[in-house]
Symmetry: C2
Subunit: 144 residues, 2 copies
């Protein structure tokens, strides 16, 4: 096995990522980031809380809320707000994508591709604005 220290290029270690963002790498923050990085779905605060307790049953929900806000502010994670359901989170995606909700199954589908982003950026630009963030929620029904 290689025992080389990891390169300075791209951090994949949660604690490292936190420090690079200028944040203290506490046990709780590291856990939250690890949990989110390992999630393919988009967990809610409660989902994260449950998983975090499996790693350390003394974490408090208050810390989870504080950490989610911190990571979101630092741009490390993204908050997805839907009409009724509680907010969900994902690691900040490298490539912008939108979300499609199957209204029959509740399934959340990621829509890849940058066409929409680019069109939006162009339109908003014409209005005299720079886009800081953008997010689309689509609700659809599978065709049969």
């Amino acid at each position: 096995m290689m025992t080389e220290p990891n390169s300075e290029q791209l951090s994949t270690d949660p604690a490292q990522i936190l420090r690079e963002a200028g944040l203290r790498a506490t046990q709780q923050r590291t856990s939250v980031l690890t949990i989110l990085a390992a999630s393919t779905d988009h967990p809610t605060v409660d989902d994260v809380y449950d998983k975090a307790r499996q790693l350390d049953d003394s974490v408090s929900i208050a810390t989870i809320y504080r950490t989610m806000l911190l990571l979101e502010t630092a741009g490390l994670i993204r908050k997805l707000t839907f009409d009724d359901a509680p907010a969900r989170y994902e690691m900040t995606p490298n490539r912008d994508h939108d979300h499609l909700i199957d209204i029959d199954t509740g399934e959340l589908i990621e829509i890849p591709g940058r066409e929409i982003s680019e069109l939006r950026a162009r339109i908003v630009n014409d209005l005299g604005y720079d886009v800081v963030s953008q997010h689309t929620i689509l609700r659809g029904r599978r065709k049969h």
Copy 2:
């Protein structure tokens, strides 16, 4: 002045709109619909509650919540959910549009045009879905 009864074509009278939707035209529902129709901004539940009390100081917040849900379900109004701020409402727009939030001033700007809607519909269609509803939230900063 004309004293002709209004035409049967398009109702602009809130009570009439409610009945056409198969709902009872109560004082409270009529007030809420009137308030929303008169709003150029996008009021929150609390905004609507405050204005409704100016018309009838005995309305309860519970009724406002129940009415918003009822009108939304009936498709008469649309709920806009933003990342942090409380939900806002608007009359269901005839033409689909998105919203741009100025992150410095908090101003909410409507983006007209159907280009985005059409592109999205096409992409989602390619995924095998029919679009039921769609909504984009953009956050931007005015260029100087």
